[in-house]
Subunit: 553 residues, 2 copies
C-alpha cells in the first residue's frame, strides 16, 4: 500500500539521561533513534524522533551550566545529532550560548541539518526549579515545516501558559510538540493531562508531550509521555517509570491512526515505583556496589528494605540489626523475618560495647547532669557509625530509613539514623508509609508470594526503642493528625492560627510547627532523597536556619 | 545659628536584623531612630534615617516570603513605622504583595505617612541570590520630594545597572539613596565603592549607600555603609562589621559638610572579623549556650578556637582533645598550649575504647578485607560522636574546624570531623588559614599578649594523624598549588585542560578536580558556614551529586 507523503510517524523517546554525561547521552540518543527506526516498518512514511528538554546534558544540570566549556561540548554533540538525522527528523533540547546569553533551546534536525530551533520562553524559577539562574527567556514562537506539515515547538513550562500555544496556532501550526523534563509528584500526571487536554481542545491542536524518565538526585522523572488529539482526547500514553521509545502513526491530517494508551498506575503504585526508580538510579548512576541499611524491626526500615531489593536486587543488599537493651524481642524477630522474606544478607551487631565505652569515657564530663535525649542520640549514633564503617569497607551505600513526618519534626538523630547517601522515604509521610507497606504486601500475595512486611510491624504502635516502653505517639499527636498538620504547614504554608481553625488541638499545632522550625538545621545536613510531593525537603524548600518567625496568625 | 530649611541630616542606620523576626526588627528600627535623634542636635535641620533592604524581615528571608500571613504582619509593622516617622523621615525596605505579585519594596515615611515607595527593578538570581523565585521586578523610577530636595530611591542591585540612576537623574534627583543587603566576600567593599564612585561622578550625583550588618546562616553582611559625593569621592564611611547609626550633615546643595571616613580594614582583618561575626551571630541568634570543639593540635582547630573565643568569650567555649595512638605528643602539647593561651575549658578524652569496641564488633564483618580508610574514618567518627554527646548534654554547639581546601577535595570524614552546627573556615582555603593564624598571633603580640597559636603549629606539615606518620601533602599537591587549582576550578569554572595550561602538573589537576566532583555528596551534608569568597559551598554552588561530566577541554 502506498501512503501519501503527509502521513508521518513520530516516536516519543522517553530516555533516562544522566546529568553532565554529554557523550553518554549522545549514545542514548543514538540508541533510541535506532530503536525508533527498528519499530518503523513503513519506509514511505517520514519518521521524527522526539526527545526531552535538555536531552544533551540531562535535566537539571544545575551549575554545570555555568562552565565555559559547556558550549563547545554541546556544539560537538550537536554535530553528531545532525549526522544521525540523515534519514530521520530529530527533536531535542540543549543549552545554547548566543550573544552572551544562555538559552534553554529545542532544535529540529532533518537530512543532516538543523532546520529549526526555539528558545524556551517561560523559565520556571519556583519549587525545585532555578532556570532564571541560568537562562535568558526566548521571545519568539517557532512553527516549522516538515513533510508538508507545520509543527509548533515548545519547551516544558511554555505549555502551562497560554501565549506560546496561541501564537503557534496563529502561525498555522497543525500540531504542537512539547518537550519536557517534568519531575514526578503526587497528582502531577493527571494535572499535565488535564491541562494539555484543555489546551488541545481550545486550540483544536493535537499535542505530543515527551518527558524524560529516571532519577537524578532528589528528582524522579516519571516519563508517562503522551499524545492528545485536537479534541483533547488521550490517544497515546507511554508507560510510567520506564525508558521507552513509542512509535505513533499519524494520518495526513495529523490524527493518530491507532489509539494506544496504557492504564495509569494507582496512586500507591505510582509512588512506590517512583521510590524504587529514585533509589535504583542513585545507586547505579553513582556506581555503588550495593546497599546496606539498618533494620530496626519497625515499619520504615522494613519498607525501605523492600524498596532497596526492588531497586537493585537482593544479592546487593545487606541488612543490619543493631540491638540495644531497649530493643524488644519482637523487633529482633520481625527484622529477621523481613530480611528472610526478601532473601538479603542479614547481620546482628549489638551496640552495647561501644555505647558503654562512650558513656564511661564521658563519665566525668556528664557528672551531675541528668539523663536526657543525649543517651538516646548516642545509641542512634553508634548505629550510624557501624553502618558507615560497613559502607566504607564494602563500597555499599547506606540507605537512610527515616520518613517525612520524622524529618519534619526532627524525630531523627543527626549522624545517627540520619546517616546515609540517599533516603527513600524522605518525602513520604508516615501515614503513606503504612499504605505503601500494605500495597507492597498485596503485590507479593497477589503474585503468590509471602508477605514481605509482617502484619504486626504494620499494626503495632511505632517506637524508636531508644528508651524503655517508648512509643512515638507519647510525644507526638497521632500520625493521622500529625501528617495533616504537617501538610498544612509545610506544603500549604498556613499559619498556626489557620491550622488550628481547621479543627486541630491548639497545643498540638503549636508544638508541631515549632518542632518543624527548630529542626531546619537537621534537614540541612540530611541526605538527599526522593521528592514525591509538591514540596519536598530539598531544593524545594529553602528555609533559613536562623529564623525569628513567630507562630500566630 | 539659624539653618536654611534645605540643610538636612541623613542617618545611615546599619542594623543587625534577624530574619523572620518582624517584631524584633521593628524594635531594632525604633532603637536606631532613637539613636539617630539623640545624635541630632540641630532641630532646625530635618532628619532622615535610612535603613537597609528588607529591613522589616531581615535578609534573606528565603521561603518565609511564600507564607500567606507575611503580608498582614508586614502591614502591621509598617503602621508602627509610620508612627515613628512623626518627626523624622524614615526609609526602609519591606516585602509587599500587590495585584497578586510580591515586590521587594523601599518605602519613605514622613510626618506619620508613607510619602513614596519604590519596587526594586533588578532582581539578582545568581550566586547566593534567588530573588526571582519570590519577587516581581518593579518598572518605575522613584524620585520623591523631601524638604525642598528631590531624592532618588533605589534598592541594592539596581545601582549595579545604569538605568535606575540615569532615569533618576533625568527626573531631577539631587541625591540617590541606595538601600542594600550586600553580603561580604573578599574584595567586595572595594568593588562597591569603585562602582558607586564611578556612577556618582558620571551622573554628578551624591549617593548614600546603606547596608545591613551581621550574620545570617552562611551570609555575613559587613555593613560598611558610605556616602560618595557628586565628584565620586568617599566623604563618609561607617565601620565594617559593627552595628552603627552614623549621622551625616548635608548643606543646602546636598554636599556633606564634614568628611568622616574610617580606614578600611586590611584584607586579613576583614576576613577574620567576618568569620568572628558569622560565628557570633549564628550562636547568639540561635540561642546556643556555648561552643564545643575538637582540638587536634593542628592549625585549623587552633584558628577555629581563637575565632570561637573572639566571637563569644572564653567562658562559653570548651575544647576537647581526643587522642588516639597516632596522635603525636607534639599535638597533645600544642592543643593544651592553645587552650591555655585562650583560657578555655580543656578536656582530654581518648577514643581507643570505643574504636576498639567497634572494631571488635565488626571483626566478622570485616574478615578477609584489607585495612583502608574505613579505620581512619572510624577514628574521626568516634570523635564526632563524642563531641555531639557533649553538645547534646550541655547545649553547646559543635563548631566544625575543616577548611575549604579539605571540603573541596573531600579530605574530611562525613559524621566525623564534619559534625557540627556551623563551620568557621568552610570557605577559607588552607593557605589563608596560615595567614589568618599569623594575623591573629600578631594581633595578640601587638597588644602585649602571648601568641595564641604556637609557631610550630603553623610551620609543621599539616597531618590528619589518622595513620602513622601521615602528612597531608603525601596525597595532595602542596597547598600553594592545591588552592590555586581549586580556585580556578571552583570559583573560575575553568576546565581541566585550561587549568593545566596555566602550568600545573596534569596529574595533579586531574586528581584534584576529580576529588572535587566526587565529594559533592559530602558537602551536601556539611554544616553551613561563613561564606567569604565569591563562591562558597552553600547556596552559591548548586551542583548535581549524580554527575557524569568528564574532565577535559
Amino acid at each position: 500500500m502506498q501512503h501519501s507523503i503527509q502521513q508521518v510517524s513520530i516516536a516519543l523517546a522517553q530516555v533516562n539521561f544522566k546529568v553532565g554525561d554529554i557523550d553518554g547521552n549522545l549514545e542514548r540518543i543514538s540508541m533510541a533513534v535506532a530503536d525508533a527506526k527498528a519499530q518503523h516498518h513503513d519506509s514511505d512514511r517520514p519518521l521524527m524522533v522526539v526527545f526531552s528538554e535538555l536531552a544533551i546534558t540531562g535535566y537539571p544540570p544545575e551549575d554545570l551550566l555555568l562552565r565555559p566549556s559547556l558550549q563547545h561540548r554541546v556544539e560537538a554533540s550537536l554535530q553528531e545529532v545532525a549526522k544521525l538525522s540523515a534519514d530521520v527528523a530529530i527533536v531535542l533540547g540543549y543549552p545554547w550560548h548566543q550573544d552572551g546569553k544562555l538559552f534553554n533551546m529545542a532544535g529540529v534536525w532533518s537530512q543532516g541539518e538543523q532546520i529549526a530551533r526555539y528558545a524556551k520562553r517561560f523559565l520556571p524559577n519556583y519549587q525545585v526549579f532555578d532556570e532564571q539562574r541560568y537562562f535568558t527567556a526566548g521571545a519568539d514562537t517557532c512553527v516549522f515545516d516538515w513533510q508538508g506539515h507545520k509543527l509548533g515547538l515548545t519547551v516544558c513550562e511554555d505549555i502551562w501558559h497560554e501565549q506560546p500555544i496561541a501564537e503557534s496556532k496563529a502561525a498555522e501550526a497543525e500540531l504542537i510538540i512539547n518537550i519536557n523534563a517534568s519531575p514526578f509528584h503526587l497528582g502531577k500526571l493527571q494535572q499535565r493531562r488535564e491541562l494539555l487536554s484543555n489546551h488541545a481542545q481550545r486550540h483544536q491542536l493535537p499535542i505530543v508531550y515527551v518527558n524524560q524518565v529516571g532519577g537524578q538526585d532528589e528528582l524522579v522523572f516519571d516519563g508517562a509521555s503522551f499524545v492528545v488529539d485536537s479534541a483533547g482526547e488521550l490517544v497515546m500514553s507511554a508507560p510510567e517509570h520506564e525508558s521507552t521509545v513509542s512509535l505513533v502513526d499519524f494520518d495526513s491530517s495529523l490524527n493518530v491512526q491507532v489509539k494506544q494508551t496504557v492504564l495509569a498506575k494507582s496512586e500507591l503504585a505510582s509512588i512506590y515505583d517512583t521510590l524504587v526508580l529514585g533509589v535504583r538510579d542513585y545507586i547505579e548512576k553513582n556506581g555503588f556496589k550495593g546497599i546496606v541499611l539498618g533494620l530496626s524491626g519497625g515499619i520504615d526500615s522494613a519498607l525501605t528494605l523492600a524498596i532497596a531489593v526492588d531497586a537493585i536486587g537482593k544479592d546487593r543488599v545487606e541488612a543490619v540489626m543493631m540491638p540495644f537493651k531497649y530493643t524488644s524481642s519482637m523487633s529482633m524477630e520481625d527484622a529477621k523475618l523481613e530480611a528472610d522474606a526478601l532473601g538479603v544478607s542479614y547481620k546482628v551487631l549489638p551496640i552495647e560495647p561501644m555505647y558503654d565505652a562512650f558513656m564511661l569515657t564521658l563519665e566525668d564530663e556528664f557528672a551531675g547532669l541528668a539523663r536526657d535525649t543525649t543517651e538516646e542520640n548516642l545509641q542512634a549514633r553508634c548505629r550510624g557509625v557501624m553502618l558507615m564503617a560497613i559502607s566504607n569497607k564494602k563500597g555499599y551505600m547506606v540507605l537512610t530509613t527515616g520518613n517525612k513526618s520524622e524529618m519534619a519534626v526532627g524525630y531523627a538523630t543527626l549522624y545517627g539514623d540520619m546517616v546515609g547517601g540517599y533516603s527513600a522515604l524522605k518525602d513520604v509521610y508516615k501515614t503513606i508509609v503504612f499504605q505503601l507497606s500494605r500495597y507492597r504486601n498485596e503485590l507479593a500475595t497477589s503474585q503468590g508470594e509471602a508477605e514481605i512486611i509482617p502484619e504486626r510491624v504494620i499494626t503495632r504502635p511505632p517506637s524508636a526503642e531508644l528508651a524503655p516502653d517508648q512509643i512515638d505517639e507519647d510525644s507526638l499527636p497521632p500520625y493521622d493528625d500529625l501528617d495533616q498538620i504537617l501538610e498544612f504547614y509545610i506544603e500549604g504554608d498556613l499559619s498556626v492560627d489557620a491550622i488550628i481553625a481547621k479543627g486541630f488541638a491548639s497545643d498540638d499545632v503549636k508544638r508541631v510547627t515549632r518542632l518543624v522550625d527548630l529542626s531546619e538545621y537537621k534537614r540541612r545536613q540530611a541526605p538527599v532523597g526522593v521528592r514525591m510531593t509538591a514540596r519536598g525537603f530539598g531544593r524545594d524548600r529553602r528555609y533559613p536556619i536562623t529564623n525569628g518567625w513567630k507562630a500566630g496568625s
